[in-house]
Symmetry: C2
Subunit: 217 residues, 2 copies
């Protein structure tokens, strides 16, 4: 079974990492420091297939790496670990949210409309297969698709077909059955730009348990 | 029955105007010139409830006005007709598409992320009730919701609750039953920013007949 690195120790990182452990993967959670306290707490509660390390350690460990860091620091994190990501799959599930103008957040202007976080990470990592997906739902729905209350669609984008096949297999393990491959990594901007409507729907009832279905014949 | 003005003589304007005629409304199609040839052809084929005029004429005629002009000229058109829109409902179904960087289009930067066409029109028309809706599907689906191949969701945004009730009644006449009111006109940016993902899905098969369902419990 493939080994997986998870960048990020927040709610999203922990949710992804715990689901992967439940599925039987070995998982190393990466942070800036090798002894990050949140990662240590997660390891302690997650059994012997769970471990922690720096971002660099997690990248070296994983055949596949999930980027679950906040979108405004993802590029810095990726630069730290780039040397160990060559030839691997990076699943980017983050969004370039900009909280500097208050709530609800907008998108970071330099990563919106004519660019995206997914594209920026691919540019930093020419030898890595970046696949953008899962960023259009809350983390509990990412790993258990039915929790949106019905059958929603999961979108993905990336330049490498074989890498997307591997990611699709993980999405199916997370409960997604309606998966649309939008094409190359340029389409990452399309899914990231769904964040504003996600926020608008979320704010109606402060309820994050929903998803988007592409209704077609 | 209320009278309706339709700004724009392109495919979207004609599709909306013809549906309104079929529903029994009187409709005046507005253009820059009172004798616009495309509007004249539409009037000729649409019976005695159809008429044409300038944007100013159509605004004066309508209790409700649809903005179906291209997003990059909508603000100029609205300025021409502003004097006759006071106290009325403007249903803005356009998107601020920017074709200057080739295909697929992006959004006009000044009308994206921290602003939107819907918000810009509301700012130009402080005495008008701007309601943003229908802009997330192709025009044939706008007026016949089932043509997306299932039950999709229609989103709307605007500052005035009574105006949104009137718009909702028209949406129901267009076949929409799952309608979500996102809140004030600020949320127009959320629906306009769905255009990139609409384009990504469209480009998969060059098929515009689809919609977005908000899947929730």
């Amino acid at each position: 079974m493939k080994k997986i690195g998870v960048f990020g120790t927040g709610t999203v990182g922990k949710t992804i990492a715990s689901k992967l452990i439940a599925l039987g993967y070995e998982v190393k959670m990466g942070a800036r420091s090798a002894d990050n306290e949140k990662a240590a707490a997660w390891v302690k509660s997650s059994g012997d297939k769970a471990s922690q390390g720096t971002f660099t350690d997690a990248a070296a460990f994983g055949d596949i790496v999930f980027n679950c860091t906040k979108g405004d620091i993802s590029q810095d994190v990726i630069k730290l670990a780039a040397g160990n990501l060559e030839g691997k799959i990076l699943i980017d599930i983050s969004n370039p949210l900009d909280f500097s103008n208050g709530m609800p957040p907008t998108l970071i202007p330099a990563l919106c409309n004519s660019n995206s976080l997914g594209e920026a990470l691919q540019e930093l990592l020419p030898g890595t297969h970046v696949v953008k997906t899962l960023n259009i739902v809350t983390s509990d729905v990412m790993v258990d698709a039915a929790r949106c209350g019905g059958e929603a669609t999961m979108l993905m984008a990336g330049n490498n077909a074989a890498a997307k096949k591997e990611v699709e297999a993980i999405l199916r393990q997370f409960g997604w059955s309606d998966i649309i491959d939008l094409g190359n990594i340029r389409h990452a901007r399309s899914t990231e730009m769904m964040l504003p409507v996600w926020l608008s729907v979320y704010l109606l009832n402060n309820n994050a348990f929903f998803g988007f279905k592409i209704v077609r014949p």
